[in-house]
């Protein structure tokens, strides 16, 4: 069975500073990895994905994530955070064996002006 860990419930940064949201995973075989963002009273919005190829993937709104197979991590990063990035972020992994998507518990990001 696969699982996803987001070790930080909350991340607080100042606007303009780098933002990192951590994610580690456990899955049999090669994974597909995703990041989603959720704003209040809304569904999840897709940010980026890793399927294969380059370990550094770029996504929406200036976000990027680096796939590290040896550390089984897929941390989300943004070089310069905006107040509007304040939201709930979910990491997700899908096993290519049963194609079932598993989500982390989520990390609340607060960017202060």
């Amino acid at each position: 069975a696969q699982s996803v860990a987001q070790p930080e419930d909350q991340v607080n940064v100042a606007e303009g500073n780098p933002l990192t949201v951590k994610c580690t995973y456990s899955v049999s075989g090669n994974p597909y990895l995703f990041w989603y963002v959720q704003y209040p009273n809304r569904g999840l919005q897709f940010l980026l994905k890793y399927i294969t190829g380059d370990n550094l993937v770029k996504g929406s709104y200036g976000f990027e994530a680096e796939f590290n197979k040896s550390q089984t991590s897929f941390h989300l990063k943004k070089p310069s955070a905006l107040v509007s990035d304040s939201a709930l972020y979910f990491c997700a992994v899908i096993s290519r064996r049963d194609y079932k998507l598993s989500f982390g518990a989520g990390t609340t990001v607060t960017v202060r002006a």
Partner: protein, 115 residues
């Protein structure tokens, strides 16, 4: 284009009543998922439909929960004899196919409150 649509957006009902939640997926998406999101928690998988295949019901928490998908499009999640612990946001998602490489597209959810 149109995204995933869910109705109602909010539902308040009394304990013991039955509720039906509706999901209209993106046209052409063959895969449809239901999730439950409790306050302050992550997403809990409930059920998955793929084309004409038998649904994956492995996430349904009890036999009070059921879902159907008519004509490979609209889906209805039914909760019978609701309990207070059923209070949550129910999210529906769809994707083009089930190899997992395409992201899921989510609706805004139905916020269910059981009094």
């Amino acid at each position: 284009g149109a995204g995933v649509s869910q109705s109602p957006s909010n539902k308040v009902t009394e304990k013991g009543k039955d509720v039906e939640l509706r999901c209209d997926p993106i046209s052409g998406h063959t895969a449809l998922y239901w999730y439950r999101q409790s306050l302050g928690q992550g997403l809990e998988f409930l059920i998955y439909f793929q084309g004409n295949s038998a649904p994956d019901k492995s996430g349904l928490p009890s036999d009070r929960f059921s879902a159907e998908r008519t004509g490979g499009s609209v889906s209805t999640l039914t909760i019978q004899r609701t309990q207070q612990e059923d209070s949550a946001v129910y999210l529906c998602a769809s994707s083009p196919h089930r190899d997992g490489s395409e992201p899921q597209h989510f609706g805004d959810g139905t916020r269910l409150s059981i009094l």
